[in-house]
Symmetry: C2
Subunit: 383 residues, 2 copies
């Protein structure tokens, strides 16, 4: 096992109805909140109103910034920081999915330290402070509600990058599975792919950590168990509960004990490049690129890939080919794309992707990637 | 799933050598520490000296209270509180196993709130404050290093009881597996039994939580995987690492998501009664009482018990009898007692145990126990 530190200070409240308890927590965080939300579903389904009711109950003043995009951009973060400064807010409440929470984290650090958010994300400036951050999750997928990570894109520099800091852990997160009953099928599929990809990034982190590997396999098995029933019955609260918690566990640190603190994230980086170019939903980029990455690395780390399959199948004879088949077939079965063609990308797009990968020197933390790797992986993604 | 809250503020540092980093953390906790330790092994093996070196490096003053017993008693807690008061200490460092850390937790609450520790444990007084608590673990078993629980016995009232509070989470815990290389075989066996029993208490908590159940089974499988190799090679650091982390996970909240926040703890309560009477090591009471409890509850909750076996074996056909056999045979295989006779207790002792169980109205949180249950369970424990 690698030496590691476990630290996750987020207090997470889970269960149907927890949204009604938010007002009890708010007083200690200050007088004035900035509410961050997305493109409208929290308005459409009444979740934003329900949150405002909680703020009224605790007599918390608030201002709001809506319109965060599904692939969130730095410009929205900067605009929201201006609102925060003008209104001298005390704390931030994010209501939405990962893109909203990620944006709120960087709004927080930029506002609290008076530094541009992109300078923080590119490590040109080091933030030292934060204001309290509360999250209300409405889409299960990214795990941002209980970790220190954020991903944003900058259309000017053509980068989509991640940033992690202990300052980014939400103080409290409210996970009310009933708020996810309205998540449409395609976004539910993307969420399932995302949580499996997070588990895989942890599996391919540096370090030998038997219990974490076992847990990783169980997260994948659990997802494989609830996915089809849920996709056939999107209003089933029990299945929504299972998905919501599993997505949190996939990226709240539970799967990293004994491994290098970062996962591999090479596949995420490859996927981010596609999202950057074509605004492709994050989950779709992962269900295409993970099988391709596995096929490319199969000859280099056959035993590692086979170990995953052995744990998933509880069968010592499962090999690397079967492991990749299990992952890819599952993505296909739930209707996730597994080839670039499935999202209407052609050879020309592939060239564009390759160029941007080369320009941004995209790589993984544990398994490095170079130009030759990009090409081979993209070939697998189009085969 | 049941509604639940996840909150574990302990910062845990794991790995060979982390003991040398303690001095970096100490400054922020104050000028003067109270060191709590046990009956001598931390002195014998130089761990206490290594800790004092860290205190010297950070120029932290300290006083000490040693002699905490393996089944820790309230008297030692009271005496240590006097030392804390006289010396006006700022924070507490516990170095040892679960009994030392549990004692330190109650010393902390008693000292910080100026309330007798037993009044806290019996809920006659509610503590509101704490001083910082640092732990240095030298025996893997109880999980106390990353939870809010403490167990103490009071020989005057003939009770051995547990107490849990958010105030009890250590601020920082240092888990250096190299400090566990000197744990003797019998204590290592007891630790393995204890961590499996903790997983089982979580499994039998109220509530249907599929991912937590999967994780519980994996903790048991992992223990079954490292136990024999470790017991045959007590100086193997890789196996010690696996045991140390697995014991922490078994009781740091990871296994409780979606369940009632308390496990069942009926078997622990039965075991505590035996420890109270005969000073029997905690682990030995569990390897005897868990199979007996399972046999008694087999007819009442066959499916629940069978589910555990199905998850452990990854075989849908495993039934409740086979499940109990798996647990009991494992305890036997690693040399843990599974009958009262194995620790030289006779029919007369059984009567004494029964009397004390009745007097203290011992029960579980999820599965209640009465006089008839005690008798039947004790019969299984002697069969």
């Amino acid at each position: 096992m690698e030496n590691f530190t476990v630290y996750n200070p987020t207090k997470l409240h889970f269960g149907v109805g927890v949204i009604s308890n938010i007002h009890q927590s708010l007083k200690k965080y200050g007088k004035k909140a900035l509410i961050i939300y997305g493109k409208g579903s929290v308005k459409k389904y009444g979740y934003l109103d329900a949150l405002k009711k909680q703020l009224n109950l605790s007599k918390t003043e608030y201002v709001e910034y809506g319109g965060i995009k599904p692939n969130p951009v730095i410009d929205d973060v900067r605009k929201a920081v201006e609102v925060a400064k003008n209104e001298k807010i005390d704390f931030i409440i994010a209501i939405g999915g990962g893109s909203v929470i990620d944006s709120a984290k960087m709004i927080n650090l930029s506002y609290a330290n008076n530094i541009d958010a992109w300078d923080i994300m590119t490590y040109r400036e080091i933030p030292k402070k934060r204001v309290p951050l509360i999250t209300v999750l409405t889409i299960a997928a990214t795990g941002s509600e209980m970790n220190g990570a954020a991903v944003l894109q900058n259309p000017k520099t053509m980068q989509k990058i991640g940033y992690a800091s202990e300052l980014n852990y939400p103080d409290e997160s409210f996970l009310d599975p009933s708020l996810t009953l309205t998540v449409p099928k395609d976004q539910t599929i993307n969420g399932i792919v995302d949580l499996i990809a997070h588990s895989l990034e942890a599996f391919f982190a540096y370090g030998d950590a038997p219990l974490s590997d076992r847990f990783i396999a169980q997260v994948i098995i659990e997802a494989m168990d609830f996915a089809e029933p849920l996709l056939n019955n999107l209003k089933n609260i029990t299945l929504r509960e299972r998905m919501m918690w599993t997505a949190t566990v996939a990226l709240n640190g539970t799967l990293y004990a004994g491994k290098a603190s970062s996962g591999d994230w090479g596949v995420h980086a490859l996927g981010h490049t596609i999202s950057m170019l074509y605004d492709t939903p994050h989950g779709q980029t992962l269900s295409i690129m993970y099988p391709a990455w596995l096929k490319h690395f199969k000859s280099k780390i056959p035993e590692r890939i086979a170990k995953l399959g052995k744990l998933i199948t509880a069968n010592k004879n499962t090999n690397e080919d079967q492991t990749i088949e299990i992952i890819e077939n599952f993505f296909k079965k739930i209707g996730a794309p597994t080839r670039l063609q499935d999202i209407n990308l052609t050879e020309n797009h592939k060239k564009q992707i390759l160029e941007l990968l080369i320009k941004n020197k995209v790589s993984g933390m544990n398994f490095s990637l170079d130009e030759k790797d990009y090409e081979k992986i993209l070939n697998f993604a189009m085969q």
